[in-house]
């Protein structure tokens, strides 16, 4: 079955992202497809390449990256909402350049896109599951 996931909370503050990750991992291990994970609200912070947890803790960002969720063309399907991301200081190279900001922090396993990607995920998936506060 084709699943889509929405993650509404950032890493470490709330369990939502951990639960969503465990759900996605179990789905893949059981032969299902995760067609897209959409990160919204503070969930955009799950994509920060600047994340440095202590060594004895799980690495939430790397966990997501390890699932290797991509479309048929190899584009990441870990999608970060652009409006929510810019508001919270989560930038890819293109947004940083466009806004004359030095540096960028979007992990390469993720991509930034619009809210339409969430609606599209709802339309194209068999099930959409929301994880939040």
């Amino acid at each position: 079955m084709k699943f889509a996931i929405q993650v509404n909370e950032g890493p470490y503050q709330h369990q939502a992202s951990d639960t969503a990750f465990q759900f996605a991992k179990a789905a893949i291990e059981n032969g299902h497809e995760i067609m897209r994970v959409f990160f919204y609200h503070d969930g955009v912070n799950n994509a920060s390449s600047f994340t440095l947890p202590p060594q004895d803790d799980r690495h939430v960002v790397n966990n997501w990256a390890s699932l290797d969720i991509k479309d048929a063309d190899g584009n990441p399907e870990l999608v970060v909402c652009v409006a929510a991301a810019l508001r919270r200081g989560m930038l890819d190279e293109s947004e940083a350049t466009k806004n004359s900001i030095e540096g960028n922090n979007l992990h390469p396993a993720f991509r930034i896109s619009g809210l339409g990607q969430l609606i599209e995920a709802g339309i194209q998936s068999d099930r959409l599951v929301v994880f939040g506060d």
Binding site: A16, Q22, N30, G132
Partner: protein
């Protein structure tokens, strides 16, 4: 439908709001702090009927993490994450009471 509840009823009214509009065939899965609702406590009567009908599940990892495995109310069914996935497959639309 599968309704997921991730808040303790001692903190928020998510479970009550879910119960208010759950239909006769849908099931509830407690995840995260929602598993506190699966423990035998002063609010257990909220879910007793649904549990007796086999319609209340709790995520085992969250139950164990909170040290309440031995305190579960009657008729609660435990599932792991793969079981969570199966519930979503079986019960159609997933409603999160976030």
């Amino acid at each position: 439908m599968l309704h997921t509840v991730n808040k303790s009823s001692f903190e928020r009214n998510s479970l009550q709001s879910c119960i208010n509009i759950i239909d006769d065939t849908s099931v509830i899965l407690f995840i995260e702090d929602g598993v506190i609702n699966a423990a035998n406590n002063s609010k257990s009567s909220m879910i007793a009927d649904l549990a007796a009908q086999g319609r209340v599940f709790a995520l085992q990892g969250d139950v164990e993490a909170r040290g309440i495995s031995s305190k579960l109310a009657d008729n609660i069914k435990l599932v792991d994450y793969a079981g969570f996935v199966d519930l979503v497959v079986e019960h159609g639309t997933a409603v999160s009471w976030v």
